[in-house]
Structure formats: C-alpha cells, structure tokens
C-alpha cells in the first residue's frame, strides 16, 4: 500500500507538470496561432489608450518579452524555489510555492488563493457531508421500500433536484429566505474562527442548494446500487444464516454498493474543492471559483495557472484517496 501511495504521488507531480504545460500552451500558443503577438497581449494589461512606451514597459515587467520556454521555466522554478519580483521601491521575495504575480494587481497569487481557500473548503465540505448523508440514506430507504409511496416521492424529488441548476435554486432561495423573509439575511462568508455560528448560518443556503443537486444524484445512484446488491445470492445467504437485517443491509449490501458512490464522490469533491463556481457567483462568496472567473475574465495567466494547478491537485488527491478506500471497502482489492 505504501509503495502504491508513493508511486501515485510521483505520478501526481508528473501530472501537474503536464497540466501546467498544457495551460501555458493554451494561454500563449493558441492566440499566437490566431495571429496575436506579444505586444498585443501586453496591451491587455495596460489601461485605456496604451502608449507604445507603456506597452513595452509592461511587457518587460511581466516577463512577456522572454521566450516561452524561459517564462515556463521561471514559473516552475518559482513553485520550487520561490522568486524575486520588482515591486518598485524594493525587490520582493515570493517564497515557494510561488505561482508568480498577478498580471493585473501585481500581487502574489498564492496568498490570494490561500485566502480564498477557506470559503471553498467550507462550502464544498459542508455540502458534501449533507449530500452524502441525505443522498445515501434516502437511496437506501428507497431501495428497501421499493415501489412504495416513499420510494416514488423521493425519486421524483431527486429527478427535480438533478434537473434544477444551482443558479436557479440559489436565486430562488435568496429571494425567499434572504430578501423577502430575512431568515438568512446578508449571506456573506464569515470565517469559522471569527464566529462559528454565523459561519454556519451564512452557509446554510449555499449548502442546501449545492447539496440538493448532488443528493438527488446520490440517492438515485445508491438506490440503483442497493437494488442490485440486495438481490444477490450472498445477501440471501446472509439472511438465511440468521444475521440481523441491519447487518445484512449495511455490512453486506451497502458496502458492496458503495464502490461507485465512493468513486463519484471523490470526483465531485475534488472538482468542488477547485471552486464551486456557479454557487460562489450566485451567493457572492469569494472562493476559488470566483477567483477562477476573475482570472479568466482578466486574462491573468499567473492566476489561471495557479488555480488550475490547485484544482488539478485536489482532483488527483481525491482520486488517490478513493483508490485507497477501494482497498478498505473491497478486500479483493490489493495494492
């Protein structure tokens, strides 16, 4: 197992390098194929009415006048060793991991991402707990009570949940529970360390909206998985051995049905940790999702690279954890 984990971690590093190279290439090479030159790219970072002198100066300041391989090399070096940056009155040092300085604000990217991370972590993990518990529970009950009113009702609600986008449920919930009936007024992010109760209260609406979508999916997935496993011969054997029904359901039925759920949970959580873009935009929560939107809108390469690598890291680690959990859930899996 340890060898497996170490191998996967090395593969993670390699994968992140590939992701960064692809992102770099997309940012620079594709526009060049369309005819853009470095001067034009630098023009985007100067205010209105850019003079030639201003464009050349910003080109030099942002390092755009260096060959691409030099720029990429400096970027990789910054992540590992840190980098020095001209802040005007002094030369600032950006310690590793240094994802460079924003083309727009000329501030280091990593601290900005770190400050946005708690918002996304709070949003993603809180919603994940809610959707996992509620979705799996409802799925189990529906499977065990197949064909009953509960089953039909819950699956219908699940269908609605899967169909309604977050920007719809989010705006409706804000309209009703924040503006019209101020049960959750002024939804803003309050750090957990500042006020845990306010932190939780302000996240209730985003959690519920985000988890509604996923819970619906997990309920249907769990129901399907449970229906399949509960009809297996070994379940009949377990019952005939006189095992308590609770043991039959959870130890034998659910455990076998969990594998696809764990797989998809890893992917979903990993993706959300990279930024729940639509939820953050809808609720004006400044997490990594909103950071990503601004970075793309501003054509800010260092920010785009930083958030892309961070999101890729989360996805890869989430998948690693999922693979490890396979061995826990299924004794036949060995590394």
């Amino acid at each position: 197992m340890i060898t497996f984990v170490i191998r996967r971690l090395f593969a993670t590093v390699f994968l992140l390098i590939v992701v960064s190279a692809i992102t770099f290439a997309i940012f620079f090479i594709i526009p060049r194929l369309a005819g853009q030159n470095t001067y034009q790219l630098a023009t985007e970072y100067v205010g209105r009415n850019p003079t030639r002198q201003a464009v050349l100066q910003i080109e030099a300041q942002l390092g755009l006048d260096h060959p691409l391989w030099v720029q990429y090399g400096n970027f990789l070096k910054g992540i590992v060793l840190g980098t020095h940056y001209n802040a005007g009155t002094n030369t600032a040092y950006c310690p590793p991991p240094c994802f460079g300085y924003s083309f727009r604000t000329q501030q280091p990217v990593w601290p900005q991402m770190v400050s946005d991370l708690p918002v996304t972590l709070s949003l993603a993990i809180g919603a994940a707990i809610i959707w996992l518990v509620s979705g799996v529970s409802i799925g189990i009950i529906s499977a065990l009570k197949r064909g009953t009113l509960f089953d039909r009702f819950s699956m219908s609600v699940a269908l609605v949940g899967v169909s309604l986008p977050i920007f719809f449920t989010g705006l409706i919930s804000l309209e009703l529970f924040s503006y019209k009936w101020p049960i959750f007024p002024n939804v803003t992010f309050v750090p957990f360390s500042t006020n845990p109760l306010l932190w939780a209260r302000n996240l209730v609406l985003p959690w519920l909206c985000l988890s509604f979508l996923y819970a619906a999916l997990y309920a249907r997935l769990t129901r399907a998985g449970m229906l399949e496993t509960m009809s297996e011969d070994y379940i009949r054997t377990a019952r005939s051995k006189g095992l308590p029904e609770r043991t039959v359901i959870f130890k034998h039925g659910l455990r076998a049905a969990l594998t696809p759920i764990v797989t998809i949970f890893g992917m979903d959580l990993g993706l959300l940790l990279g930024g729940a873009i639509i939820t953050e935009v809808t609720f004006s929560l400044h997490g990594l999702g909103l950071f990503t939107v601004e970075a793309v809108q501003n054509q800010d390469l260092p920010e785009i690279l930083g958030v892309t690598l961070l999101a890729a890291f989360f996805i890869v680690i989430a998948n690693l954890v999922v693979d490890i959990l396979y061995a826990v859930l299924d004794p036949r899996v060995k590394y």
Partner: protein, 591 residues
C-alpha cells in the same frame, strides 16, 4: 471612453449652457462639504438637480457593493469612473469637481491647491500653490514634493499601467524618457525636470506644448500626494496614505475594503468632501443582481459601480411607485455608438457610411439599451453634458428614428454600391445590450442590402486583439465596431481626442475605431488644446462634432442613462454630473 473601465461624465436633464466657471446651482458648500437643498425634496430624478436628505448627522456604516473589483485603489493607477469618485474619500488631488448637483458639478475647482493653475510662458507653464496645512493620515504636513513624487511614480508604466498617460506626453523637460523614481532612485527621486517645487507650497509644471485644459488634468487622482518614504510601489494600493476624510483600516485585495475616519483631515481644507459616517465598507465581486436585491432590502446603501441596476431590479423599481420615488435616471455621460471604418472599402467612401447612418433604426438601438430609461437617441457623438455641445441631426436620427430606407439607398447609389455590400460587425459578446444592438443593426442594414457578419469578442480582449487592432480589422473585413465613450473631463477635447484624432490611432488598443484621420478634425483639436479663451475653446466642440458626423465616421446610438437607486437611509444624495453617479465624497446616514 469604454463603459466599464472608464471614467464617466454624467449629465442631467435639460442641460443648457454648461460653461466652465459658472455656478448656477443653489447648493452652497459648507466647510464640511454638505450641500443644502429644499427640505422634503424627493421623487423620481429628484437627486439629479437636488440634494436629497441634506444632513450633518454623523455615525453609521455606509456599505458599498461592487460587482467587480477596482482596477486599483492606488490613486496613481486607476481609470474607473467610480474609483475617481471613490478615491475622493481618501485622497486630495490638486483640483477636483465642485460637490454640487446640476451643472455646478461640472466645474473644476481647487482641492489641495489654493486656486486654479496660473498660466505663463505662452501657455507652457502652469503654477499651483497648495494649502499649507493639509496633512497625511500620520500627521505629516503635505508638501509639493509629495505631489511631484506622486506624478513621477506614474511614469513607471510597468508598475502602474492602468491609469491615464496624460502626464507622459503633456509634460516637457525629460518627460519623454523619464523612467520613474524607482529606476531613478540612485538620484534624489525628484528627477523629472518638467516639474519644479521652488518651495514646499509651490509646484510648477512645464509643458511640452500649450494645453489649455491642464486644470482638468490636475483633477485626475494621479496628482494626489504620495510621501516618498511611505511609498511601497506595487503594494501601495493595499494602503495608500490618506489625505482625504477617510483612511484605510483594512483591505483584502479584491474582497473587502474598510475605511475609517482620518483623524488628521480638516474639513476647512476640503470643502468638497465630508466626514460623516463612522465607517465605509466596499464589498467586491458580488453578484450584480444580489447587489440590487440587497440595496432594495437595505443591507447595502450604494452600488459602487454607479452604472445602474440590472434588468430585474429595473422592472421592479419602475413598476413600484415607492421604489421609483427613490431612484434617478441621469445621463451617464457615455455615448454608445458604432464606429464606421473609414479605411476599409467600400466604407472608405463617405456615402457608403452615410447609407448606414440613414438605414440604422435608432429606435431598435435604443430598445437594445433598455428603451428611454436606458438611453436617449443620439444624433451627435458628444453627449449633451459636454461643454460646448450643440444639438444637430444630420441623418434624421431623432426625426426619423426608425431609419430611412429611401435615403439609405440613395447614398448606396452615390457610393457605387446600389445593391449593397458585405462587411463585418464587431461587438463585445459579454455585454447583452451591445449584442442586442449589433443584432438590431444587422437587421436594419439587411433591408438595404448591406449584408453583415457578426463577430463577438470578450471585453477583455476587444481593444487589444480585435476591434482595437487596425490590422485585424483590415484582414477580417470589419467595417463596423460597436463601442462607447465618455470623456476624461467634460469638454470637447476631453471627449473627442482619443476617438477621432488621427494621432490617436495605434496598432493595438486603438480607441479611434473609425481610424478617422481628417485634417479638419485634427486641426480643430490642436487649436482647442492651445486656446485659453473659454468661449472660443468651447466653440470647437460642436465644430468637431459636426465634422465627424459629416464624415459619417461614427453612427451615434444612444446617450446612456443609468437607473440608480438611492438607499432611503442615505443623506446628502445627489448625482454628481461629472461622474454620472451619486457623489460618494459627501454621503452620510440618517441618525
């Protein structure tokens, strides 16, 4: 000037002769900057010409919501209209705009300076004296060396690329090659020879050539003093050293800014600002619709961007009398237009461009921007608030707003294209109103045989990579480019130079999208810059406007309007016509 990243000059209804130096407003500023008004004034558009809820009550927190983040909070590095308004809360440039509603608010008046600049040496020298007792937030007295340094640092365009570049080409001496104080640190930091500071309260600007509008340039936040010892370069935006009524308490970049009263600000030195609220916050990157809902719910007091509510809130406000009474719909100072490429065949023939002027449905253009609430049909390029503006209508925009097919076809025949022609239209694809306007124009032109292909591009790359690149336009047959502009200052030169002067055409980031290089227009702008007599100078505004329209280089769409909602708890609320939004420097809260 582009809508989003620009400086806005707003007008007010029924603007007549907007002459610099004439104050027609009844609002007289007290030493605290609190204007007066008829008590009980209220209602729709009341804040365009009146002060709503005049009060000297202190206390409370004014919460601003912002749908994006400032380009920069460094006064030397910002070009957003609302930031030039907002920075008056924490800095004092040499000059500013008088805090009063109506045409009065278009006057440029001394702020840090004691009087407007004294001109000498055939217009090449401008001398200002500053108030001797203005202090920074730490109690240090401001000197002219701080003002000189503030201007000098903006020459480092690598670190401060976002603000205007006027000083780099207006100033003489070594301005053309001066690299900025950071690269000049081996010397004495005061290496820009174009500015002298003979004593601590006198500053002298030496220009490369006469420029009669220099008082306006002195009103740009770049002249707000910066103490060299406390300058942190690229990090100065995190805590600019205040000379205004408020100072930075905290700033989480792109998230939240908190201002608290500056204990070393004196009301007697700054009559155009007030220190009433106990705290001012700006929350950034909020959902625009969320801002509107919070404004209506009272959780926020001001929409910082000042460009009006979104469509959903607009419907609600206009259909609810009590909400409508709390709103204003001033002219925002922008003209939304389509530039017609004067270098691309067949549009290089003026008659083909005139065909477009006649064929376009101005009604549909206005509808695309939200109907009369969103803008008034434009027949000139300059909006009515521009000093020297005169109305005229060469192509029946107001008399025949649905377009005149017959006249359009006559013009097509005159340019040798009786069956029409093909060309491309560019627009900013992330601006729904501009998308609708482009589609409307496409439909209008199709009626006369002008077949167009739509090309939408994101705002962030529109100027730098596409519409603002003349070579791209030529290579891709782009004859029509949607755009918008507002002046950096409210006279004809401030409005027209960057969009119609031949010398303003640049290979990338071009704003003269029509690529107009008419010697008549160029000459008028040159004469305007050099003429010190107000009446003569301002008369050139309408002459330039007329010539540009005779050239049919621009298809004016609408004079933009913004539906603003004023929170009922706010005091001293009025539209500052120069910014096109409420004056942020004088707001307070009801006790």
């Amino acid at each position: 000037m582009t809508r989003r990243r620009t400086f806005g000059v707003a007008a007010f209804a029924a603007a007549a002769a907007l002459v610099l130096g004439a104050c027609s407003s009844s609002s007289s500023s007290s030493s605290s900057g609190t204007p007066t008004s008829s008590p009980g004034t209220t209602g729709f558009n009341a804040a365009v010409t009146n002060v709503i809820n005049p009060s000297t009550a202190k206390g409370g927190t004014i919460n601003f919501g912002n749908s994006s983040a400032p380009d920069s909070t460094d006064p030397g590095n910002t070009y957003y209209a609302y930031m030039w308004n907002f920075t008056r809360l924490y800095v004092m440039p040499l000059m500013t705009y008088k805090s009063c509603p109506g045409s009065c608010g278009l006057q440029v008046v001394p702020d840090l300076a004691t009087a407007p600049g004294v001109v000498s040496d055939n217009g090449l020298t401008w001398t200002y004296h500053i108030q001797p007792d203005v202090k920074f937030e730490d109690g240090t007295v401001v000197t002219t060396a701080d003002v000189k340094y503030a201007v000098e640092r903006t020459f480092d365009r690598g670190l401060f690329p976002l603000g205007p570049a006027y000083f780099t080409f207006l100033l003489g001496g070594n301005a053309a090659t001066y690299p900025g104080p950071y690269k000049d640190r081996a010397k004495n930091l005061m290496g820009l020879t174009a500015i002298d500071t003979p004593n601590t309260t006198t500053i002298v600007f030496h220009l490369a050539k006469p420029f009669a509008d220099f008082n306006y340039v002195a009103a740009i936040p770049q002249t707000a003093p910066v103490p060299p010892a406390k300058d942190t370069g690229a990090n100065y935006q995190l805590h600019p050293i205040s000379t205004g009524p408020y100072m930075f308490q905290s700033y989480q970049l792109n998230k939240e800014l908190v201002l608290v009263p500056n204990p070393n600000w004196q009301a007697s030195t700054d009559p155009n600002a007030s220190q009433l609220a106990s705290k001012i916050t700006m929350t950034m990157n909020m959902n625009a619709n969320d801002i509107d809902n919070r404004l209506l719910a009272g959780d926020l007091q001001v929409d910082a961007a000042g460009t009006g509510v979104q469509a959903a809130a607009r419907s609600r406000i206009l259909s609810t009398p009590s909400l409508k009474a709390q709103s204003d719909d001033p002219l925002a100072g922008f003209t939304w237009f389509a530039a017609l490429n004067t270098t691309l065949a067949p549009l290089n023939n003026a008659h083909c461009r005139m065909a477009i002027e006649y064929a376009a449905s101005k009604t549909n253009y206005q509808d695309a921007y939200g109907g009369p609430i969103g803008g008034a049909i434009a027949s000139t390029v300059a909006p009515p608030n521009t000093v020297g503006y005169k109305p005229f209508d060469l192509y029946d925009a107001t008399t025949d707003p649905n377009g005149n097919i017959a006249k359009a076809k006559q013009e097509l025949a005159a340019c040798g294209q009786p069956n029409g022609f093909t060309t491309g239209i560019t627009y900013r694809s992330d601006r729904p109103k501009e998308v609708a306007a482009a589609e409307a124009l496409q439909a209008s032109l199709a009626q006369v045989g002008i077949k167009t292909t739509l090309h939408g591009f994101p705002t962030s790359t529109y100027d730098g990579d596409f519409a603002g690149v003349p070579k791209y336009e030529a290579q891709h047959d782009i004859g029509i480019s949607f755009y918008g502009w507002a002046a950096d200052w409210p006279d004809g030169w401030g409005f027209f130079f960057y969009i119609v002067d031949g010398t303003a055409i640049s290979p990338a980031g071009n704003t003269n999208l029509a690529q107009l290089n008419d010697p008549v227009v160029n000459n008028l702008l040159t004469k305007m810059a050099a003429t010190t007599d107000d009446a003569t100078r301002n008369s050139y505004t309408s002459q330039i406007d007329m010539q540009v329209m005779k050239d049919a280089a621009i298809l004016p769409g609408v004079y933009a309007k913004s539906l603003l909602y004023r929170g009922p708890t706010l005091t001293n609320v009025y539209v500052q016509p120069y910014y096109g939004m409420y004056n942020y420097a004088v707001l307070g809260l009801k006790s």
